[in-house]
């Protein structure tokens, strides 16, 4: 009896009393630079929208994805606004988990959104999430090292040229590595790059009947190219390098080239963070042989609202604030134009001040317009998505395949073994998931 009373007392004493006002928006977001900046600008939003308070949950990308997916799939309603990728948006929208954003306000300029990005976050012509920043992939290279080696980067290079150049620049004695590429296993890490690479070599994940295609010659060609190149001209430990690790390597002057997301450009050219800020040049994602496919990498982080929220109006007010043109101007006035979230709006790329402040602007826009997620590779595919496949099973399969490829890069298995493993596990998982679906 006494025990029970004490017990109950203890529990209730610890209970958190929920005095939060009705209009507190809980926002789940990634701990990337642009989002952290958004969080810092909270006061501006609050000043313009009295009565709405913001609560931030900032997490590392993988943790965030698990948290928001679990939350939305179980309809737990812990978040009012979620930061989600272009991978999630179409899948979630089809499940009816996202609220269509039709109340962003009269001033919100939807027509200004980059068409490729707008398509990626719309289903049946309706916007289900608003893009916060977008990216494609491109080459970032060190002009000084290219000059020293007597090389000149064409604007539209071929993979053969890249491979030669990387090997020439590499000087392991001074810790200069010709090329840095992602190698860390994960569907959003090494598989993003390798899938884009395979696209440019003419490979595809699945044929029209959802049959895995890793046994095809294009994949062998692409993967051998990648593994051999990294062996000769890549940094040590490449198989655990993802975007961040490579960024750190490039910023500290250890990479001759880095092919990755276009958003990286503003980091590598920022003199506060990068030792090589004034020496960076940009070029399009390479193509292979006669093909003109630049890999079709396209990604955006977007703000979406879970269906069933009771704060739809406030949530859309916030999204409108964070993704409209006025936000770009706000960031520009505080931190300069180079730090404006890139890759979502046409107007940004016609803005003279932005072009002046961001030497990478033109190349970013070119890369983004070149990306076509509906037709990622030459051969027909049953899926959409450039550097990913927009089906729910892809996260698991992509990561498992990524592990195989990462093992090939680490030299723990041969390219053939890795492809065989990838083929086998993909077929297994697809069979388990019941593909081909009608």
């Amino acid at each position: 009896m006494t025990l029970k009373t004490i017990l109950l007392g203890a529990v209730s004493a610890l209970a958190f009393s929920g005095l939060a006002s009705a209009e507190t928006l809980t926002i789940a977001t990634v701990n990337n630079g642009d989002m952290i900046r958004m969080q810092k600008l909270t006061d501006d939003f609050k000043a313009k929208n009295p009565g709405i308070d913001l609560e931030w949950v900032t997490l590392e990308e993988n943790v965030l994805r698990q948290r928001v997916t679990t939350d939305i799939a179980t309809k737990s309603g812990q978040y009012d606004i979620m930061t989600i990728g272009t991978y999630e948006v179409p899948i979630w929208a089809k499940q009816g988990w996202l609220l269509p954003l039709d109340n962003l306000g009269a001033k919100y300029d939807q027509a200004d959104l980059l068409p490729a990005i707008k398509d990626a976050v719309s289903v049946d012509g309706k916007l289900y999430a608003a893009p916060f920043y977008g990216e494609s992939a491109m080459i970032m290279y060190r002009k000084d090292l290219f000059d020293k080696a007597g090389l000149k980067m064409p604007e539209n290079p071929k993979w053969d040229f890249i491979a030669d150049a990387a090997r020439k620049i590499t000087d392991k004695g001074t810790e200069t590595y010709g090329i840095c590429l992602r190698g860390k296993a994960g569907w959003g890490e090494n598989m993003a790059f390798i899938t884009a690479l395979a696209n440019s070599f003419g490979g595809r994940w699945f044929d029209e009947n959802w049959k895995a295609q890793f046994d095809q010659p294009e994949w062998k060609q692409a993967l051998s190219f990648y593994v051999n190149l990294m062996k000769d001209a890549g940094p040590p430990g490449a198989s655990s390098n993802g975007f961040n690790e490579n960024l750190a390597l490039f910023q500290t002057g250890k990479c001759g080239m880095w092919i990755d997301a276009t958003v990286a450009a503003s980091f590598v050219s920022n003199p506060k963070e990068s030792k090589v800020a004034d020496k960076v040049g940009y070029a399009l994602f390479p193509t292979s042989g006669e093909l003109t496919n630049h890999g079709n990498w396209l990604w955006a982080w977007n703000l979406g609202v879970p269906a069933g929220t009771k704060k739809a109006e406030a949530a859309q007010k916030f999204i409108s604030w964070a993704t409209d043109k006025a936000y770009s101007e706000l960031v520009a006035s505080k931190d300069g134009w180079a730090n404006v979230p890139p890759g979502t709006r046409t107007s940004l790329y016609t803005n003279a001040e932005y072009q002046k402040a961001a030497p990478f602007a033109a190349m970013t826009e070119k890369a983004m317009t070149a990306a076509n997620t509906a037709k990622p590779t030459v051969k027909p595919v049953p899926y959409t998505g450039g550097q990913f496949v927009a089906i729910p099973e892809f996260q698991g399969i992509g990561t498992a395949v990524g592990q195989q490829f990462s093992a090939a890069l680490a030299g723990q298995m041969t390219v053939d073994q890795a492809l065989q493993g990838a083929q086998q596990l993909t077929s297994r998982e697809m069979a388990k998931a019941g593909y081909p679906k009608k």
């Binding site: 997916t69 994960g186 750190a248 729910p392 093992a407 493993g421």
Partner: protein, 290 residues
């Protein structure tokens, strides 16, 4: 009379623990077993259907399963070996009269207080990174090529990180046991002319048997479910080189969101863990219940 009274009182006192733990075990376990027979993907609601043993079949025939099983055992065994040997060595050292004993003890037990996520992040980025890490710098200064820890020896690297976290625990238990060893016993042996080695083998080691058992038991419980360290450092790779059972279940549950598959994996892991537990009971029974 007194005995009956005591026994019923005892039962009453045990009740909250037993009932709570039983509920904590039975409810999720029941749900997990139920889910494990369903085709249930969190991302495709409304499509749940009974699939029999399909999830088990897939989990057990997963090419990664055998690797995960081996890695789990290697991880547990490796960490146990390092922490027990290291723990005894440290305990012997700290049992000696040394200057600043208290401070050294503080230094040695410190890793025990560090969150697993933090220690994995620190080891990965600041020590084992082959370019910016401290180890790479040391080996370059000595004229060697830096070791790419997480790619070439992933499992060993994780064993090192986890062992670093658990070494303090082992040291403390061993030290307590060692300090309870009768000085006179040691002295007597010394007078008999026993050398340091034979003194250690015939007197100290048998005395520490219980401590060693305790370390094995407690650490095994925690080591079977090592997860954060793997997630932060290698993501189970390259390939499946550092995937353990817990990580494999994680991949099903939070990457694939395949709740059916993850539940089946969880059940398999529980069964395997209980086999280990039975083995441990035997061990304990012999050593702990004198």
């Amino acid at each position: 009379m007194a005995t009956t009274h005591t026994h019923s009182a005892a039962r009453l006192m045990m009740a909250p623990s037993v009932i709570l733990l039983f509920a904590w075990m039975a409810v999720p376990l029941g749900m997990t077993i139920y889910f494990s027979f369903l085709r249930y993907n969190l991302l495709m609601p409304g499509m749940e259907e009974y699939t029999g043993f399909l999830n088990y079949q897939y989990f057990l025939t997963d090419p990664a399963f055998f690797a995960a099983l081996t890695n789990t055992l290697l991880l547990v065994g490796g960490v146990l070996a390092i922490t027990i040997v290291g723990g005894i060595a440290f305990a012997l050292l700290l049992d000696q009269p040394i200057f600043g004993q208290g401070i050294v003890r503080i230094l040695v037990i410190a890793p025990f207080f560090v969150m697993p996520t933090v220690s994995a992040l620190v080891w990965k980025n600041m020590f084992m990174n082959p370019v910016n890490g401290l180890f790479a710098w040391i080996s370059r200064s000595l004229g060697f090529a830096p070791v790419d820890f997480l790619a070439s020896i992933p499992l060993l690297s994780i064993i090192i990180i986890v062992a670093w976290q658990w070494l303090p625990f082992a040291t403390l238990i061993m030290l307590t046991a060692l300090q309870s060893l009768d000085e006179e016993q040691k002295d007597a042996a010394e007078m008999d002319g026993a050398g340091a080695v034979s003194r250690f083998i015939y007197i100290v080691l048998p005395h520490m048997a219980r401590a060693i058992t305790v370390v094995i038991l407690i650490e095994t419980i925690f080591l079977l479910s090592v997860f954060a360290e793997i997630l932060v450092t290698t993501n189970g790779g390259p390939g499946t080189a550092s995937t353990n059972l817990t990580y494999l279940v994680y991949a099903q549950a939070l990457l694939q969101f395949d709740i059916g598959g993850a539940s089946a994996g969880g059940i398999v892991a529980v069964i395997l863990a209980n086999i280990v537990a039975i083995f441990l009971v035997r061990l304990i029974g012999k050593n702990l219940e004198a």
